[in-house]
């Protein structure tokens, strides 16, 4: 990290370019494959066609609208699920009784594929917006839970002891020692959860949806609209880049002490 700070500006712009080399290479290769006819463009449309599809859908307003409704579902689900996972992870990390009671159950539940959960979700939540958000929340809950829990149980025993020896009460202990010490691992959970947030949407938006990027994607699959399928894949990839960007910045902001 420390060497990064002494890099001059020239290196910095290079650092901005390198990460895009492979994605670009993939796109070029893909264009080539389609151009020389190795696969027909009805099976795999060329990048240019996909781009055109993207522009069309943007102009028609379909894409922005789907993106924004998905963004809404994703964010609300993330906040609720991530919040619950965080709290549950925190409690289980701190209390041995809670851990014994809940951890095993959570570890069992997190293994159930979202796809398989749909009937139960409908049973519990109906087919409206809450059901979709619920599923995203479930998805985001587990990584936040696991990482928070793991982060807290791995806090160096020595500094906890130090906190005790200086008379910190439980709340101060959590705020000043346990939470900051667990934060790097928790932020890794945020990183996971941000990924899961988008990937559960595609499942959530099979529940009676008529909008959203996940809907767009499954709908395209039903109608074999490869251009849109690939467009959605690209959008997911870019959202991934965005999540990564957010996660990285959270780390930079909150973990500045790690230098």
């Amino acid at each position: 990290m420390s060497d990064a700070s002494v890099l001059n500006k020239k290196k910095f712009s290079l650092q901005g370019i390198i990460p895009w080399i492979i994605p670009l290479a993939i796109i070029l290769f893909w264009q080539l494959v389609v151009s020389i006819g190795w696969v027909s463009s009805s099976v795999l449309p060329s990048p240019l066609e996909v781009l055109k599809d993207g522009i069309d859908l943007t102009i028609k307003g379909e894409l922005p609208q789907n993106m924004s409704i998905s963004l809404y579902r994703a964010t609300v689900g993330f906040v609720i699920g991530g919040g619950i996972g965080f709290v549950l992870g925190f409690i289980n990390g701190l209390s041995k009784v809670a851990r014994l009671t809940f951890d095993s159950t959570v570890q069992m539940l997190r293994n159930i594929p979202h796809l398989a959960l749909i009937p139960l979700v409908i049973l519990l939540m109906g087919i409206g917006e809450p059901a979709k958000i619920f599923l995203v929340a479930i998805g985001c809950m587990f990584p936040m839970y696991i990482n928070t829990y793991h982060g807290i149980t791995s806090v160096d025993h020595k500094i906890i002891e130090m906190g005790k020896a200086y008379g910190l009460n439980r709340s101060a202990m959590i705020r000043k020692i346990i939470f900051p010490a667990a934060l790097p691992t928790i932020l890794m959970g945020v990183r996971y959860a941000l990924g899961v947030m988008w990937t559960t949407l595609i499942v959530a938006e099979t529940i009676s949806a008529s909008s959203g990027i996940g809907y767009m994607s499954t709908n395209a699959e039903q109608f074999m609209d490869m251009k849109t399928i690939v467009l959605c894949i690209l959008i997911y990839a870019l959202l991934g880049k965005l999540s990564d960007f957010i996660a990285k910045n959270l780390e930079i902001i909150f973990l500045d002490w790690r230098g």
Partner: protein, 295 residues
């Protein structure tokens, strides 16, 4: 003309649980007969038509047995496929189901109701036909797009009022959920026929193979029509449905594998037109250009 080169040994057929080829596969005669002719048959099971069309487009299956809508969608998407045969219909076993006590007694009563369907499948076409028949507009009902199992739960818990579907699900719902068919495929004109399609190039180069498949397939279907008890037993085991459900579904179904004709092509054309007019597909397709009327 000279086709079917001797080198070809294996032929891959995509099917779905409970369909014509599932029966042929389970009975076992089909594969034996094909083998005598020098073909090893590989059956590949799929969970839905879209996936099968995907496999067909990428050359992973040679023949695909699908419902009536997936080939239309695939053609609109630019997939080069050819209809080589048609199956029977489920016209009596598909339609719109409602609970008996729902107060919905005619198509007109659907106005303002929530109706479950699955996008891109026959049920979407079925609903469009039904609305037209009742003189209702497309927006007069609430369209609820759900997968099968999701729809089942939603229907049972009254999250939706009606459900466009086909056998054996319809039979099951009729028997377990105190429901009735409000309208069936025969009445709406959405007959829900199955088709056998092939990659266009393959179909062109293997016409006699296609004939063989139709011939032996038809023999199995004849057997199925005359041996309901055995078919029922087979399906009970395969689909894990209760016997009375399968009985109901099998009884009202006619099995068959036929060469394509104009009538079948027109049925598909109607779907294509309807989907295009409703904006579901953004390309008009002419089905007859993609049919091989094997003589």
């Amino acid at each position: 003309h000279q086709e079917d080169n001797a080198k070809l040994k294996s032929v891959t057929i995509g099917f779905q649980a409970g369909d014509e080829f599932d029966i042929a596969k389970s009975r076992g005669q089909f594969a034996k007969k094909m083998e005598k002719k020098g073909y090893k048959v590989k059956f590949k099971e799929f969970q839905n038509g879209a996936a099968m069309m995907q496999a067909l487009a990428t050359g992973n299956v040679d023949y695909a047995r699908v419902g009536d809508t997936p080939p239309v969608s695939a053609l609109a998407a630019g997939t080069k496929l050819t209809y080589v045969a048609a199956g029977g219909t489920k016209e009596k076993g598909s339609g719109i189901i409602v609970k008996k006590n729902s107060g919905i007694n005619s198509l007109k009563d659907l106005k303002g109701k929530r109706v479950a369907y699955t996008k891109g499948t026959s049920s979407q076409y079925m609903l469009l036909r039904a609305l037209r028949k009742a003189g209702l507009g497309v927006d007069d009902i609430k369209w609820v797009n759900l997968d099968q199992d999701a729809a089942a739960v939603a229907y049972s818990k009254d999250k939706v009022d009606a459900w466009a579907n086909w056998d054996p699900t319809v039979a099951q719902v009729e028997l377990t959920e105190n429901s009735k068919l409000l309208v069936n495929g025969k009445q709406t004109g959405a007959v829900n026929r199955s088709f056998i399609v092939s990659p266009a190039k393959f179909a062109k180069n293997h016409r006699s193979l296609s004939r063989l498949i139709i011939k032996y397939g038809e023999q199995d279907m004849h057997w199925a029509n005359t041996h309901h008890a055995k078919v029922i037993k087979l399906m009970v085991k395969d689909l894990k449905l209760s016997k009375n459900v399968v009985q109901l579904a099998v009884k009202r179904r006619v099995f068959g594998i036929y060469k394509m004709n104009d009538e079948y092509a027109k049925e598909e054309q109607k779907i294509a037109n309807t989907f295009y007019q409703s904006g579901i597909l953004n390309k008009q397709v002419t089905i007859s250009k993609h049919v091989d009327y094997l003589k």
